[in-house]
Symmetry: C2
Subunit: 141 residues, 2 copies
Amino acid sequence: MIDAERKFREYLSEKGLRFTSERLAILLHVMSLHEHFAVDDLHHQLRQKGLSISHATVFRTLALLIDCGIVQKLPCEKMPARYEHIFGHLHHDHMFCLRCGRIIEFHNAPIERWQQKVAEEHRFQMTGHHLIIRGYCEKCH
Amino acid sequence: MIDAERKFREYLSEKGLRFTSERLAILLHVMSLHEHFAVDDLHHQLRQKGLSISHATVFRTLALLIDCGIVQKLPCEKMPARYEHIFGHLHHDHMFCLRCGRIIEFHNAPIERWQQKVAEEHRFQMTGHHLIIRGYCEKCH
DNA sequence: ATAGTATTGATATTCGTTTTCAATTGCAAC
DNA sequence: GTTGCAATTGAAAACGAATATCAATACTAT
């Protein structure tokens, strides 16, 4: 059993929810992906594996995975939201190249700390943040 | 004529678009607001002024104002997007309350500087960024 | 096994936003 | 000023991602 499955089982158990075959299948597939994905991608890939899991269940399960901290949702403008598994990964933000669409991930501890500080100054309980640096990558200057 | 109007006129002219009474009315009202607003707020306020401008036109005009840099859109999760005029204002970022929708503005120089630094480290030419801190405001803890 | 409740899939619904299209209007050329 | 043409408008319909509904099903504890 992978760590993520253990964590998901514990989360569900604590909430009095059930560990179903659909939820396991979605979890395992999500953990196997190494790129950002949309709900339709995930749903389609599960079908290709021969699993007939409904659209609604994919949405519902992703919501659970987000709530228990295994998955992160990336709100995308003018397109369906993208998701990525974050369990076992370090937090990162994104740079987005306006010309070639390339996504560069980065992590910067001072930025994280200053965000915390700013939130505290405003007595704001931070649950997350979303930082995208827009511009042009090395190749597209 | 206010500066924003001059800028909007120039933008429309360059694009071969027309400066209509509806667009002027929306521009002036948007510039008069000192808070973030949703499309419905704007539409309703215009109606209260006796102007009968359609929902569609409000959306269409806001898209133009964004494109020409007078207005900024703030994508809000699970609720209608908010807008604000940015022409003539200093840059700032936002905290967004997931419960009441309140928006808190902040400016933090270190975060801005570290973003520049991170971009330079990746030889990324930054043209802008978008930072939203999500969570719960003082009242909604 | 049984009861009780969570979960599922199919479908319908929601609601912010966009598109359609005929009527209107700005704007530039005369 | 008049004219012609394309941009713009309002009303309504369409769109689409996400959510809710609900009867059937399946998990879990006893």
